[in-house]
């Protein structure tokens, strides 16, 4: 029977062949496919040859040259640091603190929600009172501020400045120009070049 090309060995079959653990299917294919048999034999020879390659050794002074440029860790450092590159690995103490805070926050929030669900009428009453009191205070504040402004001696003069629509347009235009000028000046100030760092690259 001629083997199907789709049955040709996979990468893993070559590994299995080397370790003597071929599956029955792969073994059957091996026995019937000349191409795979030839490739597998050559592959095994190559693998064996690769393991005989020599390991090269650096010069005898290699170790001392490396050590001359290595800064030993301070003796107080007893374990690998908890930070690697841009990633943080938190210490156990930090983890314990974070867990405690999380438990307190989540516990409080849960208790609060449960209590609110059990006393809905009371909570609604409080909310209504709070809303009405806060709106009353806001309205009172607005009235007071307006009364204060209208009672000022300069208020009458100011009203004459925008008494007509032309004057009002002029005042608005002048305000816009002043505002734009201010923004441009701020941008220029913020865009001033920062001193360069010697280590930046």
């Amino acid at each position: 029977m001629k083997p199907s090309p789709s049955d040709h060995w996979s990468f893993d079959d070559y590994d299995d062949y080397e370790s003597g653990q071929l599956s029955p299917t792969a073994r059957f294919h091996f026995e019937t496919c000349e191409r795979c048999r030839s490739a597998a034999t050559a592959d095994l020879d190559l693998r064996k040859a690769l393991t005989t390659l020599e390991t090269w050794t650096p010069a005898a002074s290699f170790e001392s040259r490396v050590m001359a440029r290595v800064a030993l860790q301070p003796a107080s450092s007893t374990e690998p640091a908890t930070r690697t590159g841009q990633r943080f690995v938190v210490s156990r103490r930090t983890l314990a603190w974070a867990a405690s805070i999380a438990i307190v926050v989540v516990g409080s929030a849960t208790a609060s929600v449960l209590w609110s669900l059990q006393h809905q009428a009371l909570v609604t009453g409080w909310a209504k009172l709070l809303m009405s009191e806060s709106s009353r205070l806001v309205w009172l504040g607005l009235q007071t501020a307006t009364a204060n402004i209208t009672e000022q001696p300069w208020y009458a003069g100011l009203r004459t400045v925008w008494g007509t629509s032309t004057r009002l347009a002029l005042v608005l235009a002048a305000s816009m120009v002043a505002y734009t000028g201010g923004v441009v000046m701020m941008r220029r100030l913020l865009a001033a070049p920062a001193p360069t760092s010697a280590n930046a690259h």
Partner: protein, 201 residues
Amino acid sequence: MAESREPLTALTDQEVVALACQGIEAAYRELIRRYQRPVFSLIYRMVRNRELAEDLAQETFIKVLNAIASYRPEFKFSSWVFKIANNAAIDHLRRRELDTLSLDGSPHAETPDAVEATVLQVGDHQESPLETVEARELGSSIEAGIAQLRPEYRTCILLRHVEGRSYEEIAEIMGLPLGTVKTYIHRARNELRVILGHLRA
């Protein structure tokens, strides 16, 4: 002191690293001794220049040992070392554009002298120490063949079949998916078989 503890050679990488993190110099030296040969061999086979390979291996160890405190024990120390070594070699190859060294000289050589300087001479007795040794060794053809592979294939096949690393570790070292690593290694062996067949012919 380290001398009063059990011999460093009997400890695991993780244990030696923990001692290095305490500033024990002997632990640093032990790590260098454990990895200098495989790291140097890998880089040497990648860049094919002894002096340069020593420099890159030296930089690898300096980086590793100076950052020993940032090593995370959940990863294999060997993976970390090989990753830095491989990056050093690949970075160099990319910088110098000597990514593939042909038996007929570098494809990037622009002058006849440059072509002559980069020819990989198998069996010639008037060359650098690497080529001299290669000419005497049974594996000289394989060394020459490996030199013709793409850098990624070279790293994969060296780590797998010369250093005996697992597929998973190679994937971690190279930052590639496991399937890609298996494909690279399989293709590398196929290419190598073709190259060696050509040399025999």
